[in-house]
C-alpha cells in the first residue's frame, strides 16, 4: 500500500509539472486532459459496473445532466463555484430516480433497462427544446484557460481514483463485492444489497456530473447526441473492461489506451477504432475477463514461481 501511495504521489507530481515544462504543447495538454476526463468517467462507471457487477449501458445520462446543468447555469451567469456542485448533485439525484426502480432488476435485465433509460433521457433532451436547445444543443462562448481545465480534470481524476481505492478497501467495498459475486448470498449474510448498489450508483453519477461540467466548459458545446449519446455510454463500458473490470487502476489504463487509439484513428480511419475495441472486447471477455491487468498478472506468474497473491488493483 505504501508503495502504491508513493507511486501515485510521483505520478501526480509529474502530471502537475507537465504544463510548466512544456507550456506550448497545446495538443499534448489537450490529449492529457482527455485522458484525465475519460479516466475519471471510466473509474466512476467501474464503481457500479465493476465493483458491484451491475453493467450499465446508460451512464451517459449522468454526464449529460452535469454538462447541461453547467451549460445552462453558465449561460445565466451563475458562478462555477455553485454550478459545478449543483451539477454533481443533479446527476446524483437523477441516479436515485432511475436507480431505485432499475435495481429491482438483476444482472442482464438491469443492463437492458439502462439502454432504455439512456435512450429515453436522450430523447427527452432532444425534445425539451426550451431547456436544452433541442437537437442542436447549447453553445457557450468562452472557455476557462486551458491550464485551469487541465488541473480541474486532473483533480477530478485523482479524486475519482482515490475514492475507488478507498471504497475497495472499505466495508462498503466488501458489500459491493458480495453483491457482484452472489446477490442472494449477500442478502442472507445481512448485506443491504439494494442500498449498497444505490449508493455506488449515486457516487458514480456525482463524479460523472462533475465530468459533465468539465466537458461543457472544455467543449463549449453540449447536445443530446454528444453527451447523452449511446457512443458515450459504450466508451464508458469499454474502458474499464479493457483495463480490468472491478480494479482501481484498470479503468485508467483503459482510458489511456482508448484515448490514444481514438486520437490516432478518429480523424483518418473513422469507426476502425470502435471496430478494434469490439474485437478487443470479445477477446478479453472470452479469454481474460480481468482485462489487461489480468493479462499482466498471467505474464508475471509465468516469469515468477507461483505464489499466493492478493490482487491489489
Amino acid at each position: 500500500m505504501a508503495r502504491n501511495a508513493a507511486f501515485a504521489a510521483i505520478a501526480i507530481a509529474a502530471l502537475i509539472a507537465v504544463p510548466f515544462v512544456a507550456p506550448h504543447a497545446e495538443y499534448a495538454l489537450d490529449v492529457l486532459f482527455l485522458i484525465f476526463l475519460y479516466g475519471a468517467m471510466a473509474t466512476a462507471w467501474n464503481l457500479v459496473g465493476g465493483f458491484a457487477g451491475q453493467v450499465s449501458f446508460g451512464h451517459a445520462a449522468f454526464l449529460g445532466i452535469g454538462a447541461y446543468a453547467t451549460a445552462i447555469m453558465t449561460q445565466n451567469g451563475i458562478s462555477l463555484w455553485i454550478s459545478v456542485p449543483v451539477s454533481a448533485l443533479l446527476a446524483g439525484a437523477y441516479s436515485l430516480v432511475i436507480g431505485i426502480p432499475a435495481f429491482r432488476l438483476r444482472g442482464p435485465y438491469f443492463s437492458i433497462a439502462t439502454i432504455g433509460i439512456g435512450e429515453a433521457t436522450r430523447l427527452i433532451a432532444r425534445n425539451w427544446s426550451s431547456l436544452t436547445g433541442g437537437v442542436s444543443g447549447l453553445t457557450l462562448s468562452s472557455a476557462p484557460p486551458l491550464l485551469l481545465q487541465y488541473f480541474a480534470a486532473l483533480a477530478l481524476l485523482v479524486a475519482a481514483v482515490g475514492l475507488a481505492a478507498w471504497i475497495r478497501a472499505s466495508r462498503f467495498g466488501y458489500a459491493l463485492a458480495a453483491v457482484r459475486q452472489d446477490t442472494d448470498a449477500a442478502e442472507t449474510l445481512g448485506v443491504a444489497t439494494t442500498v449498497a448498489k444505490t449508493q455506488a450508483l449515486f457516487l458514480s453519477a456525482c463524479i460523472l456530473g462533475v465530468a459533465g461540467s468539465v466537458y461543457a466548459l472544455h467543449y463549449l458545446f453540449v447536445s443530446p447526441d454528444s453527451v447523452f449519446g449511446f457512443s458515450t455510454s459504450i466508451a464508458l463500458v469499454i474502458m474499464p473492461i479493457i483495463g480490468g473490470l472491478g480494479t482501481v487502476t484498470g479503468p485508467l489504463i483503459g482510458a489511456v489506451i482508448y484515448t490514444f487509439i481514438r486520437e490516432q484513428l478518429a480523424a483518418t480511419l473513422a469507426n476502425v477504432d470502435l471496430l478494434a475495441f469490439g474485437v478487443l472486447l470479445i477477446a478479453i471477455v472470452v479469454f481474460e475477463p480481468r482485462g489487461i491487468l489480468g493479462i499482466a498478472d498471467r505474464i508475471r506468474r509465468m516469469r515468477k514461481p507461483p505464489a499466493v497473491t492478493v490482487p491489489d488493483g
Binding site: A102, L123, L281, I282
Partner: protein, 272 residues
C-alpha cells in the same frame, strides 16, 4: 425479429445484444444484393436465412459456448462486443450514409375500401404473421422443435431423456440469428437505414419480448400487438418525434413492475 430474441433467450438464457447487429446486416445484405446484383429484395431472405443460420451456429460454437458457464453478464458483454464489431464493420464497408431500397414494389399502394394502403407494409406484416405461425408449428410439431423447448425448460432433464443439448443450443441460436436477419431484410423494404439501424428496433423487440414474457412465443405475438397499440395511441397525444420514447418507457415500466411480462403475470395470478 422478436421471435429470434425470444428463442435465444428461452433456450440459452442469454440476452442477445448482437441481434441488433444481425438485423442491420440483414437489411444491408438485402440492399447490397439488390444494388450490386439486381436481386429482387423479396428473394433476398432465401440467401439470408440459411447463411445467417450458419453464422449463428458458428458463433455459438466458437464464442458463446465458452462463456455459457460464467456469470450471465459475461455473455451479455460478449454479444455486445459482437454487435460492436458488426456495426463498425458495416460503417467501414458501407460508410454511415443513409441507404434505402428503391423499386416499384416499394412505392406501390393498394386501395381497400377508401383506405390507401402501402403494399410493402402489408407484405411485411403478412410475412411477420406467417413466420410466427411457422415457428410455432415447428416448435410444437417437430422433434427438433420439441427438443428445443425441452432444452429451454430444463437443460439437464433434456439431456437425461437423450436430447443432444449441445446441438440443440447451436441450432436454436442459429434460428434466432436467421430470424433477426430475416426481420432486417423485411424492414429494409419499409425504412431507410444506417449501420446504427438495429439499435432502436432491437430495443423495441426486446420490449415486445418482455411484454409477452421472456419465454413464450404466443406472448411475443401478444407483446407486438400491445406495443403497436401503445405507440399508435401515444403518438396522437405527443409529438411524433417522441414516438420511440413510448417503447422505452413501456420497456422500463414493464421490466420493473411486471418482470414476468403481462402473460406471465396473468398466468401466475390465475394459479395464485
Amino acid at each position: 425479429m422478436s421471435y429470434g430474441l425470444a428463442l435465444i433467450y428461452g433456450v440459452l438464457k442469454i440476452i442477445n445484444l448482437a441481434n441488433a447487429g444481425f438485423l442491420m446486416l440483414g437489411a444491408y445484405v438485402t440492399w447490397w444484393l439488390f444494388t450490386a446484383y439486381h436481386v429482387d429484395p423479396l428473394l433476398a431472405p432465401l440467401v439470408i436465412i440459411p447463411v445467417f443460420f450458419l453464422i449463428g451456429v458458428g458463433l455459438e460454437r466458437t464464442l458463446v459456448r465458452r462463456v455459457l458457464g460464467s456469470e450471465p453478464i459475461i455473455s451479455l458483454l460478449l454479444l455486445f462486443g459482437v454487435w460492436l464489431v458488426l456495426q463498425n464493420l458495416a460503417y467501414v464497408i458501407w460508410t454511415g450514409d443513409t441507404r434505402s431500397i428503391e423499386n416499384s414494389f416499394i412505392e406501390s399502394t393498394v386501395k381497400l375500401g377508401g383506405l390507401q394502403l402501402s403494399i410493402p407494409r402489408l407484405y411485411v406484416f403478412a410475412m411477420g404473421v406467417l413466420s410466427l405461425i411457422a415457428l410455432q408449428l415447428f416448435l410444437t410439431r417437430t422433434y427438433l422443435g420439441r427438443a428445443i423447448r425441452a432444452t429451454a425448460q430444463d437443460r439437464d432433464a433434456a439431456r437425461l431423456v437423450g436430447v443432444d443439448v449441445d446441438r440443440v443450443m447451436g441450432i436454436a441460436f442459429g434460428i434466432g440469428i436467421a430470424l433477426a436477419g430475416f426481420g432486417g431484410s423485411l424492414l429494409s423494404l419499409l425504412f431507410s437505414f444506417t449501420p446504427d439501424f438495429g439499435r432502436v428496433l432491437s430495443l423495441k423487440s426486446f420490449c415486445i419480448v418482455v411484454l409477452g414474457g421472456l419465454d413464450s412465443i404466443v406472448g411475443v405475438a401478444f407483446g407486438s400487438v400491445a406495443l403497436a397499440i401503445a405507440e399508435a395511441f401515444g403518438v396522437r397525444y405527443m409529438p411524433a418525434s417522441m414516438q420511440d420514447l413510448i417503447s422505452f418507457v413501456v420497456l422500463v415500466v414493464v421490466l420493473v413492475a411486471l418482470p414476468k411480462g403481462i402473460v406471465g403475470t396473468l398466468r401466475s395470478l390465475r394459479r395464485g
